[in-house]
Structures are given as C-alpha cells and as structure tokens.
C-alpha cells in the first residue's frame, strides 16, 4: 500500500540518508531505528507530506502522495514529538474538537470509554495543562482510537508512558494490525510487539 523508493532527506547542508526504499502491506508494521539525530523524525515528516524530501518518491495505493492530498490524509494519522493537545481544553473537549475537524461527531459514551481505557478516569474534566507528562501523552494517544485511520505514523509513542500504558498501547497497535492496519514507529526502547520489520537509518 505504502511504497517508498530512492528516498533522500537533507537538513541544512547535511544529507541524513539516501536511497531508502521499503514497502508496507496491510497488517505490517515498521520499526524505524537509528541513533539520536539519524533522521527518524525527518523521515516520518517526509512520509506524511509535511516536508518534501530532497529526492525519491512516496506512493500510497500506487499514486504519489503529493497528488493524492486529502485522500491520503484521510487515511493517515501522524503523532509527533509534540503534545498536539490544547492545554486549555479538557481531555474530553480535546478529543471532540479533533474529531469535529475531521468531520466526525463523537458519541459521548464511546469517548468517555476511550479516555478510561487510556487511564484518564477522573481527569476528563481537568484542563490538560494540569496533567502530568505521561497523562498529556495519553490524551494525544487516545486519538488513535477515536480517529479511524489506516496508516499510523508514530514518533516515539512510548515516551513518558509508564509500564501499564506501554502494554496497553502495544496491545492497541496489535489490534490495529490484526484489523488490516499499518503502522510506522520510532523508538529507542525495544519494542514490546512482535513481527515488525526494521529500517535502519
């Protein structure tokens, strides 16, 4: 579904990687590996179309992502290093607003259930800025459930999470893959999920 050929990325005057190529089929996941500064974040941003690569092509269902535009973005979910949650809103509102921007209406019950699943019980109505580092991260990750995307691109999704949350997240990714989804992850820790292919930068 996603196929990358001859990809090269340049930051400043530094060539981070070149001639990168891989394919990703439904049910597969990819572990992007590399030491600090190897270019993992840069690669992910190129894959979602935020910063154009210096060379090479990225295709989704056979068409270049630049041409697909919205059709690609509808199937995509990217969560980066950033918080990407509004600190003034509560977790509940954050999820609702994000869904509304995708053009979907969230069911109150389901949303609450999702937040509880992510261990935010009792914090649904507290503005995000009062939450701890790990709790903020959980609010962001709750979007994995509320927005049904096919391709998940997650930059270090396990940072700041405690052991229970890590288990829960990897189970979630497992379900997603079993349902025919795809995922591309970076992480410096060993992954708690099986069967991933590795891409070394």
């Amino acid at each position: 579904m996603l196929s990358v050929t001859d990809l090269a990325c340049v930051r400043g005057e530094r060539r981070l990687f070149s001639d990168l190529a891989f394919d990703l089929a439904p049910g597969e996941w990819l572990h992007v590996q590399g030491e600090n500064g190897a270019g993992k974040t840069t690669l992910l941003r190129a894959l979602v179309g935020l910063s154009p690569p210096a060379a090479g092509e990225i295709r989704w269902r056979g068409a270049p992502i630049g041409r697909l535009g919205e059709d690609y973005r509808r199937e995509l979910l990217y969560l980066g290093h950033h918080g990407a949650v509004k600190e003034d809103l509560t977790p509940l509102e954050n999820l609702r607003v994000a869904a509304a921007l995708d053009g979907r209406q969230l069911d109150e019950r389901d949303t609450l259930a999702t937040l509880h699943r992510f261990g935010l019980k009792g914090r649904e109505e507290l503005p995000v800025r009062f939450l701890s580092a790990g709790q903020k991260r959980r609010v962001l990750l709750a979007r994995l459930v509320t927005r049904q995307a096919t391709l998940w691109i997650l930059d270090e999704p396990f940072t700041a999470l405690d052991v229970k949350a890590v288990d829960m997240l990897s189970a979630l990714i497992g379900e997603h893959l079993a349902a025919g989804g795809m995922a591309i992850l970076t992480s410096h820790q060993t992954m708690p999920m099986a069967n991933g292919r590795a891409v070394k930068l």
């Binding site: 973005r73 950033h82 918080g83 990407a84 809103l89 921007l101 053009g103």
Partner: protein
C-alpha cells in the same frame, strides 16, 4: 463546510477559556486611546480633531497584538500540523480561523468604539460613521494580519517582526477608515471612503486566505 464551522467553534471555545486574553485586548484598546489625552493635553478642539486617527491607530495596534495568537499557539503545540494533515483543505480551515479571530478581536472593538468616541466629544452621526468604517475595516485587518502571522510563524522574534510586516500593509485601511470619519465631520460625506474600504475588503477576502495558506505550508516544512 462542517469542518469550517467546527474550527470556528473550536477557536471560540478556546477564546472563551482564555476570556481574560480577549478582555485584555479590549482594555489595551481602551488604555491606548486614553493615553493620548494624557500625553497631548486636554484641549477639546484638538482632541476632537485627532479622535478618528487615534481610535483607528489604537484599533490597528490592538488587532495586531492579538494576531500572534492566531496561529502561534497551534504551531507550538503541534496542532497546526494536525490541521494540515486533516482531510479538510487547509485553506478552508484558515478561513475559519480568521473568521474566529475577527469575532473575538475585531467585533468587540467595533462595539466598544462609540463609547470611546464619546470621550473625544464626537457627535452621534460621526459615531455612526466610525462604527460603520470599523465594521468594514476590522475584518480587513484580520485578513491582512493573518498573512503576516503565518509568515512570521516559528520565526525567532516573530512578535515584533509581525508588526513590521503588517503595519505598512494596514496603511490603506487606516487612511480610508480614519478618513471616512474626518470627511464626514468636515461635511464632505463618507460614502467614498466607505466604498473603497468595502472594495479592499472584497479583494482581501479572496486573496488573503490563499496567501496565508501558502505561508503556513512554508512555515511547517
């Protein structure tokens, strides 16, 4: 279309959460206007003469100060990236954000202006023209300002750079806006100024969201 409404609603919700921010923009407007009599002296004739200019300059500055909350917060916390990656075209979302900005920062100025105008001894008909001109002019300020806000996004020292980019572009709005009231006071009639202001607004409605979107894409690269 529903996404447009969603973003307007979201930005209004955020503005409500930080109500103090909105109110302080208003108070800034009031204070700047009130500083002038202190700096210049209390002569009523002089004050009446400078009233439209002072009110408009204060409106310009108040709008400008509220501009950097237009995209900066979304940029810093990564939600802007998420907007760019959402299935709705970015241009539409940008239009929504600009509309919300006007509702929270331009409209209150318009509503407040007559009260301040009274302080400068303007009469009722002049106040009417003032409100009309602001009603046409403040959306224009939001639209032009959005371009500047997008261009200075993520740039070090953006706040002041923004004003440097935007204030010169505000000159026509200032001239026609303040000019309308002055022309009315001096008996020349304000319709010419007002229709020029409307024409500028129409131009900006088409052009500004496009330029803003382009600038945002550049900022996120």
């Amino acid at each position: 279309m529903s996404a447009l409404l969603a973003i307007v609603r979201r930005d209004l919700l955020l503005a409500m959460r930080r109500k103090s921010e909105m109110l302080t923009a208003l108070f800034f407007f009031i204070i700047v206007v009130s500083l002038f009599p202190l700096g210049i002296g209390p002569e009523p004739v002089l004050l009446r003469k400078i009233a439209p200019g002072v009110l408009w300059v204060a409106a310009l500055l108040a709008t400008m100060l509220s501009l950097n909350r237009l995209f900066a917060a979304d940029h810093a916390d990564g939600t802007l990236e998420q907007l760019a990656l959402s299935p709705t075209p970015l241009g539409l979302l940008v239009t929504g954000k600009i509309a919300a900005h006007w509702l929270t920062s331009g409209l209150p100025l318009v509503l407040l202006a007559p009260v301040l105008g009274v302080q400068f001894d303007l009469d009722a008909s002049a106040l009417g023209i003032l409100v009309g001109a602001l009603l046409l002019g403040t959306p224009l300020l939001s639209l032009i300002g959005a371009i500047g806000a997008a261009l200075t996004l993520g740039v070090r020292g953006g706040g002041v750079l923004l004003s440097l980019l935007v204030l010169p572009l505000y000159v026509p709005a200032l001239i026609f806006g303040a000019g309308a009231v002055e022309a009315h006071i001096s008996g020349l009639g304000a319709s010419g100024h007002l229709s020029l202001l409307a024409a500028l607004l129409a131009l900006a409605v088409f052009f500004a969201p496009w330029a803003t979107t382009a600038a945002l894409r550049v900022a996120m690269e």
